[in-house]
């Protein structure tokens, strides 16, 4: 299964994803995917350097499936992190995310 790296941005705490250029984007669609464990380890090495550089906090790998509009997390928790709180539409990041799970 494909994996991407997520974290929270240090300055404002917002959810970000590691992109192909080594930067961090708040759009999961920009996330760079690792197809195997070797590639995933390399992504985490890049992410850990970003943490040392005080750009992000607490990077970790997330399993994703490829949906029509980009990578979509398998786990419910990560889907909520993509979309933002599911309860106040004004706060949602859905426009940035591209992955919506069925809500309660």
């Amino acid at each position: 299964m494909m994996q991407i790296v997520t974290a929270n941005r240090l300055r404002d705490g917002l959810v970000v994803y590691l992109s192909a250029d080594g930067g961090w984007s708040d759009r999961i669609g920009d996330a760079v995917e690792a197809a195997d464990e070797v590639a995933a380890r390399e992504l985490m090495e890049t992410a850990n350097r970003s943490e040392i550089e005080c750009r992000i906090v607490g990077p970790y790998l997330v399993k994703v499936e490829n949906a029509a509009d980009g990578p979509a997390p398998v786990e419910h928790r990560e889907a909520v992190r993509v979309s933002g709180p599911t309860v106040q539409t004004s706060l949602n990041r859905g426009a940035h995310g591209g992955h919506q799970r069925r809500h309660v």
Partner: protein
């Protein structure tokens, strides 16, 4: 209200300055996250699912209108225009930026507020009866002693690194509105047979993954002995509480493992070294503190109040609100009003900046500028003339804060759950919203009568599900949210831990399940019974049968 003296202000200002330096060092890389994390937590700053979260203390739930306006300002300027009132009478902001938090704390300090000890393994914000000082059934004002405990516990060097967090609750009335039995220490002020006022001391309650009711370890404690006795409790806990396993580190586990009798013996032994010493609370100090909580200058008013009775007779909506949301005040002609933060379909405990400002204005106009926060995530205006209630209600209606549902099925406690919380396993708020919508009809709610639904999004039980008449615990099963139902919990003076009724329900099925429980009660209830009375009379079997009989 208590007003900071120079020492209080200096402590808070010094902490803001320290934290400003710590944040700067974190941002420039001098501090790693591992080093910074305990420092930010000591100042109430968490990193949650989507962003940082700042938890601000509202000591024993008492707020001035000035403080409420400041909270509104913070919500507007530094957050997304709203805040969330919690089951510990605090307020949480869900979207602050790390780089803004020193400024937020400085703004809070301007109105004598802070976020110190709202996280970490220390003595947390002391909670109390939201009707403190005004309840018709009150014997003694718990705010006096809550403030004394707050001062004693703030930055207490011996108790800054406890095995785990520690929560006090204090009441001064026979009816427990502060959930004493599910706190680490519960203190109930009452008058004994000799006519002396003192505390019943309860220790070792809590919820979480191992719910327990506190045991009474001293039936009567004189008020002057308060601090020496609680210090003895803390010393015994600090020495013997487990530090090897965070899930077994709360004082409830210690009391359970060694037994209440042995725990009491250890406390009493420690107390012998402490009583009568520097922690002795002289009457003069209590009197000094009492002056901060003097009643405002109430007028001598007739009661009943004709205008109030007339308006209730004329206007059915006002009458419904008055019946559910207005509580008895100790002063004739006055009343206490609950402001429900549970609009139908809304997020329990949330208030917008505009609503906070409006409540502050109403508090100034009608309630001597004073507001309370309840552990059930509502607000209270404590000093109202009954003659003003109709105008107040109309003003509340205009800002969507006149939902007449306090104590009813839609007055639901819900933790932030997986919509915000990094620890959660399932969402709580959407379940609360759907239940609220299902039972929106106010006549149906009134028919069902008092019923406490409490929802937690994980086993940590911040939504108090263990003490809900109907408790709902959100879990994750094979990648899907599921909801376990407990019945028979209660947080009042007859506190009980609810029992799991059976297998969990799906997200789609949970609202129907709750409705089945309520319909079963309506079929079974006898004259004058509330939900909890029927349940305690019949036991769980008829409810189980209706919920699972067809399976």
């Amino acid at each position: 209200m208590y007003i900071y003296d120079e020492m209080d202000q200096a402590i808070v200002d010094q902490r803001v300055k320290q934290f400003r330096g710590q944040v700067a060092r974190r941002l420039n890389g001098e501090l790693t996250e591992e080093e910074f994390r305990p420092l930010r937590l000591m100042n109430g700053l968490y990193l949650q699912l989507h962003a940082y979260m700042l938890r601000v203390a509202v000591p024993y739930g008492v707020l001035s209108s000035t403080q409420m306006r400041k909270l509104a300002h913070i919500a507007r300027r530094y957050d997304k225009g709203y805040g969330h009132f919690t089951t510990r009478q605090n307020i949480q902001f869900n979207w602050p930026k790390l780089e803004d938090t020193p400024d937020i704390l400085a703004e809070l300090s301007d109105v004598q507020m802070h976020a110190i000890q709202t996280s970490g393994n220390c003595i947390r914000n002391v909670t109390a009866d939201q009707y403190a000082g005004v309840a018709a059934d009150e014997i003694e004002d718990p705010r006096i002693y809550s403030e004394i405990i707050r001062q004693w516990s703030t930055l207490h060097p011996e108790f800054s690194f406890l095995p785990r967090k520690f929560k006090f609750a204090v009441t001064g009335a026979p009816h427990d509105r502060a959930a004493l039995r599910v706190h680490d220490v519960g203190l109930r002020l009452y008058e004994n047979e000799a006519g002396e006022i003192g505390f019943e001391v309860m220790v070792g309650g809590g919820q979480g993954r191992t719910p327990m009711l506190a045991k009474t370890i001293r039936p009567f404690l004189a008020r002057r002995d308060l601090l020496s006795y609680v210090e003895a409790i803390m010393r015994v806990y600090n020495r013997f509480g487990r530090r090897d396993n965070k899930y077994k580190a709360r004082i409830k586990i210690l009391v359970h493992e060694i037994g209440a009798e042995e725990f009491t013996r250890l406390v009493e032994e420690e107390w012998e070294h402490l009583r009568g010493g520097e922690l002795d609370l002289p009457l003069a100090e209590v009197q000094r503190m009492r002056r901060f909580f003097r009643p405002p200058g109430y007028e001598d008013l007739d009661d009943p109040v004709t205008w109030y009775e007339l308006k209730k007779a004329e206007n059915v909506n006002f009458s419904r609100w008055a019946a559910a949301n207005v509580a008895a005040h100790k002063q004739p002609g006055y009343a206490i009003a609950n402001i429900s933060l549970k609009p139908i379909g809304g997020v329990p405990g949330d208030a917008t900046a505009e609503q906070m400002d409006a409540v502050a204005d109403l508090a100034d106009r009608y309630s001597v500028g004073e507001i309370r926060v309840t552990h059930e995530q509502n607000l209270v205006l404590p000093h109202l003339k009954k003659a003003d209630l109709f105008d107040l209600w109309r003003a509340l209606e205009a800002i969507d804060l006149a939902t007449p549902n306090v104590g009813f099925v839609t007055d639901i406690i819900a933790c932030p759950g997986l919509d915000y919380c990094a620890l959660a396993t399932a969402r709580s708020i959407p379940v609360a919203q759907r239940l609220s919508e299902r039972f929106a009809d106010i006549e149906r709610q009134r028919d069902i009568g008092p019923l406490r639904i409490k929802i937690s999004g994980c086993i940590n039980a911040c939504g108090h599900h263990h003490v809900g008449h109907i408790g709902i615990l959100g879990l994750e099963k094979r990648g899907e949210e599921s909801y376990q139902v407990t019945l028979g919990g209660r947080a009042d003076e007859n506190a009980a831990i609810g029992k799991i009724v059976g297998p969990a329900f799906t997200a789609d099925g949970i609202v129907d399940a709750v409705e089945t429980v309520i319909d079963t009660y309506l079929d079974l209830r006898e004259e004058g019974e509330e939900f909890i009375d029927t349940l305690e009379r019949t036991g769980h079997d008829p409810f189980k049968e209706r919920l699972y009989g067809a399976r």
